[in-house]
Symmetry: none
């Protein structure tokens, strides 16, 4: 994934890499163009962070590639700014009711909490489908039986980056991560305060691509 | 790609956005600074392409941002370069076997094809979960009964951008799109040649964020 530069922009980059700091006038001279013709190219290269400009000194090469700058931007988005509402159920909820909640709320995973609010487990559509295929009565089977339990749950925290959350989802092959924070007074227990799902990341992708 | 601006430069941008075209003197006045103090900031903002300066008119906002460049990059990725293998089943496959395929292949949706290979329908985990909740025998119920049928299927084509595919998934609230191409000899019928899923887009997000 390369940012597309024009032939002329590539040439400008080469000149600045070799001779920077260099004024816009000198670059124009080397290319046999007017300063005015070059202005948009220099603006784009500067905006993209490839060149830096210092008044009365001129342009110099930032040493960063376009992809590095793109990466920096993407790694600068935080879970706290993108998390959505979690859908939670109590541990003694029946698998049947959990399936209904999932359809009603139209989410791909439910977070299971204990009476005091701490995270106990995660249930995915896959878990529920597997349960529904079995012979047991879904009305009497509690979700506690089919959920993934703490401490095997992959979570994220508000100050994690979206990039870390995305990596974690890919690595652990899960469709969503509960966003948690520790209870102040109960060490080792976590409160669920949000969710980051693959849908969250598709939305961010669309946001990044906005014209 | 964010250009790092100083607090003062941000303020100048705000003023010019709100009141431009505006002279350097007027900006200086509003900020209670001398024109000379502002000169370097104005030079940087102009060189960066964020402001434009016209003699005897003043500064105005160029309307271009670093995010525009990011957007252009994101909108320049194509379905053909990111599609993964589709998992297909025949129309007369039982719901039970479809569920097994879904678990075996670990995908969120299956594409249903007719004998001659053309796309007939799409089945999601949700469709299968709904079927599994019913009273009917999953071994004898064909997937044709629970699938979303042509022409109600949201598809994409190899030359679409990933951005268009992502928008389409968000708009229609689906987890994946079959990538299709028309049969040369059978107008109105489509061959499934790949899939784009939310997972595809999470992978691309991770790729964009690579250091």
């Amino acid at each position: 994934m390369e940012i597309e530069l024009s032939k002329r922009q590539e040439k400008i980059l080469e000149i600045v890499k070799a001779e920077g700091p260099i004024t816009g006038e000198s670059i124009a001279e080397k290319l046999n163009l007017t300063r005015a013709t070059l202005r948009p190219d220099l603006a784009i290269l500067t905006m993209a962070g490839l060149l830096e400009a210092r008044p009365r000194v001129g342009y110099f090469y930032s040493g960063k590639t376009a992809n590095q700058l793109m990466g920096e931007h993407v790694r600068n988005l935080y879970v706290r700014d993108y998390k959505s509402m979690p859908v939670v159920v109590q541990e003694d909820t029946s698998v049947y009711d959990a399936i209904c909640s999932m359809f009603l709320e139209d989410v791909g995973s439910l977070y299971v909490i204990k009476k005091e609010g701490q995270l106990a487990g995660v249930i995915s559509r896959k878990d529920l489908l597997q349960a529904a295929m079995g012979k047991q009565d879904l009305h009497t089977m509690p979700v506690g039986v089919v959920m993934t339990r703490m401490p095997n749950i992959i979570t994220c925290q508000p100050d994690d980056t979206l990039f870390e959350a995305a990596l974690s989802m890919m690595r652990h092959e899960v469709d969503s991560l509960p966003v948690v924070r520790p209870f102040a007074d109960r060490p080792g227990e976590w409160e669920v305060i949000g969710r980051i799902s693959k849908t969250t990341l598709v939305k961010v992708f669309v946001e990044l691509g906005q014209p």
